[in-house]
Symmetry: C2
Subunit: 470 residues, 2 copies
């Protein structure tokens, strides 16, 4: 079934059903995405303020067979938020649905609309002395609806889980324009199919999330953060086991950092403090959050790691300022990567046991294809690495456009052979539709198509994302 581009007639009719200024010409910022691989070609922008307005919009799009591209903060890295081609869609931005509807500190629940910026949600929790633990580089502009639609990950998944794990209930508009009021604050509710988790991670292809009830947590009274130089990724994993033996679920973050990333930061973001110099080949950023004694626990972990020959150097943050500097270094790595410009980026996950071997083998495989630099870093505790491939110094990524596909194929083939995933936290979007076709389980793909057809028979929701048009 083909879709129609938005027409003047469509806009006129729909505008009459909505408050003034809800529909507008689409601005350029809604047609671009951070990595510059996809570009939209016009359409109309809708800025609803209520779930009822979203429902009105979806019903109209269904009647007119107009595609709908839900838009959060626009920070996604796989092109899920930008629809190229001439079937110009309605871009549905949730940015005006940006109210925190309620905070229930005693229940540890916050209810927020889809357009709330992640950092604002964190602040609203903090104002009640609670923690909303989802945390990622783009939290200053990402919106919670997008975080949920893509099941975002980030640096605290190790302890608190993905966006999926933080969600108790949803309000959403389904592709037929019906409102699902599933905004429960319950911890347990076994009344039928798990529509919540079906919408989470569906990247806007099965409906539009308009609000969510989310879990809050106690803010750990004692937080300790350290950088530790490790022998290699395998030693880092052993160190993680030591940290867990000492602090249990108190290990909040365990991030792997490679020298290549530190060198990119030193070159392109020279104001960034580098607490350990010269840059070691491998180090980890460890954070513990306990009711007391986090720094002592870090010292115990470091001593145990030293004795076991896993770590050789380290520094524990002595102030909030120093802790912020450690995290600033971690966050500078993807920023520096972006400045350098990768030939290919891979957001992969592996069973923990396969991780160390993969890094070695994949680096070799990529270097066999060309004179590349590899920056491998990320959420080691989750088995989630960003394995990014860069040209040699003085060269531009555009010189290797013809190799990009081969590089990614090699990396992903290896990941899949080891029982891993070609998209750990970024999703499929439009970038990895082919990968999903290639690597996805056939029975699952068939079931996905059946579900898509059942809930969105006209295919209006985020056309071309996740699943290739049928």
């Amino acid at each position: 079934m083909t879709l129609d581009p938005v027409s003047d007639a469509f806009v006129t009719v729909l505008a009459a059903e909505l408050p003034p200024q809800t529909l507008r010409p689409v601005e350029a910022r809604f047609l671009e995405e951070p990595r510059g691989r996809f570009r939209g070609d016009g359409g109309v922008l809708a800025l609803p303020r209520t779930v009822e307005e979203v429902a009105t919009i979806l019903r109209a799009c269904g009647r007119a067979r107009v595609g709908v591209v839900p838009y959060g903060g626009g920070t996604g890295l796989v092109g899920g938020q930008v629809m190229p081609g001439t079937a110009r869609p309605l871009v549905l931005s949730l940015e005006r649905m940006n109210r925190v509807r309620a905070v229930h500190p005693l229940e540890n629940v916050i209810v927020a609309e889809a357009g709330v910026i992640l950092a604002d949600l964190q602040s609203a929790a903090e104002a009640e002395d609670r923690l909303f633990p989802l945390s990622l580089g783009s939290e200053g502009s990402a919106r919670i609806g997008g975080n949920l639609s893509t099941n975002a990950g980030g640096v605290n998944v190790l302890r608190y889980g993905n966006a999926r794990d933080l969600c108790l209930g949803l309000e959403a508009v389904l592709p037929n324009g019906e409102i699902w009021n599933g905004l429960t604050r319950l911890r347990k509710d076994n009344t039928g199919y798990d529509l919540r988790n079906l919408l989470i991670g569906a990247e806007g292809t099965l409906g539009v999330i308009t609000a969510a009830a989310l879990k809050l947590f106690a803010r750990p009274a004692s937080v300790g953060t350290a950088l530790m130089v490790v022998r290699d990724p395998s030693a880092a994993l052993e160190l993680l086991a030591l940290a867990r033996a000492e602090a249990g679920e108190g290990v909040s973050a365990f991030e792997l950092i490679h020298r290549q990333g530190l060198e990119f930061v030193a070159e392109h973001l020279p104001d960034t403090r580098q607490p350990i110099s010269p840059a070691p080949e491998w180090m980890v950023l460890v954070e513990l959050g306990l009711s007391r004694g986090a720094d002592n626990a870090l010292e115990t972990v470091f001593a145990a790691g030293l004795e076991a020959g896993l770590v050789s150097d380290g520094v524990i943050a002595q102030s909030d300022q120093q802790r912020a500097a450690f995290w600033r270094l971690r966050e500078a790595i993807p920023e520096a990567n972006k400045i350098v410009g990768s030939v290919a980026s891979h957001d992969i996950s592996l069973p923990l046991g396969a991780l160390a071997g993969f890094i070695e083998e994949a680096t070799g495989a990529v270097r066999a294809l060309g004179p590349f630099r590899v920056n491998c870093f990320g959420h080691l505790g989750d088995g989630n690495l960003h394995f990014n491939v860069f040209p040699q110094d003085g060269h531009d990524r555009s010189e290797y456009d013809d190799l990009r596909h081969d590089v990614s194929r090699r990396v992903h083939d290896l990941v899949m052979a080891l029982g891993g995933s070609f998209s750990a936290e970024h999703g499929v979007g439009r970038l990895k539709v082919e990968d999903l076709e290639r690597y996805g389980d056939p029975a699952k793909l068939k079931a996905m198509r059946a579900i898509k057809q059942a809930l969105d028979p006209q295919g209006i929701m985020n056309p071309g994302a996740v699943l290739a048009p049928g």
Copy 2:
């Protein structure tokens, strides 16, 4: 679309595709369920040993339009495992698929077939010095496939989540007979719709779970267990907040116990030790699991509770034997309930803030209908109560058959008005199909029917469970 009962011809043809003895006459135990509300009427029993055999069976049932009732340990309390009526189904028991396929202690993952008994799974984890935290009264006979299909809860949900939260990956056979190999050990995998969570909690209506990759945890080195007498449910909730302030995520269990339950136990299971005498109106069973000092932490919590006027008495287990006795008392409550025989049982959840008010109001509402005794107990920390209604001493539940419906309606109406759930952890099964129709969100129900139709167009999977036949 109507289904056909199993015929001799069907059995003959299918038997030829399977190893000898895979199909058998169905034994009586597969036609009964614990509460005696549903009874099967024959059919044939299938005892496959492999996922391929399950696929063969489902394909044959699809061709012949024979209903399939997946069967785990048979411990479900809502009739999901027993199909009444004359359209005699194939009962698919997973009991011979009972291998632990692999344990990965360093990854904290165990891979088990659906037929593994929950207690055996706990033991397999313990043998590797790990914890598989799902724990519930029927763990000695419940099987993990059933636990996942019903998204079982139990006493450790507070800390570790429901069955859903413990599952990383699934192997399953879909209604069309295709095998989905989703048995990943990954912590992060954003590659398409969340089929795993769709099957979990679908109670066998969307396919058959044949194996799962499950999360393991470190066994807390220091476990402390206490009984504390609380003023009322509201004080219990404040005490929970104190416990969390002291022990963070280390609060593993927080169970509410009412005097009525203790009296039932004293009368019907008189060998059960009752550490606090005379029986208090309300008490809680608290368990902490920490890396060290759990008993000290319990003492701190008790002292703080005493000072705040929340608790008046308490006892901390001084040995493993004493701890086991505390838990034995907790587990004896549903056993005693069963002996007394309830007029109506309710497995409800509420927002924590609404809990205390509900108990008072619902008890009043029920007593207005008849001379009933109420035993309200359960997983307070999850907002999940078992609100069970019994006849006066010397009377039998059968005397109140005509009131059962009204009692449940009153209780559930109140639960729903407070934003709760009429099935917190037991599921819908066949018992609560009407409740789901009545209380379920219309848009969600429509989406559920569309998904069911898409994945199981013939309606062969557990007919009559969860959704009324269309």
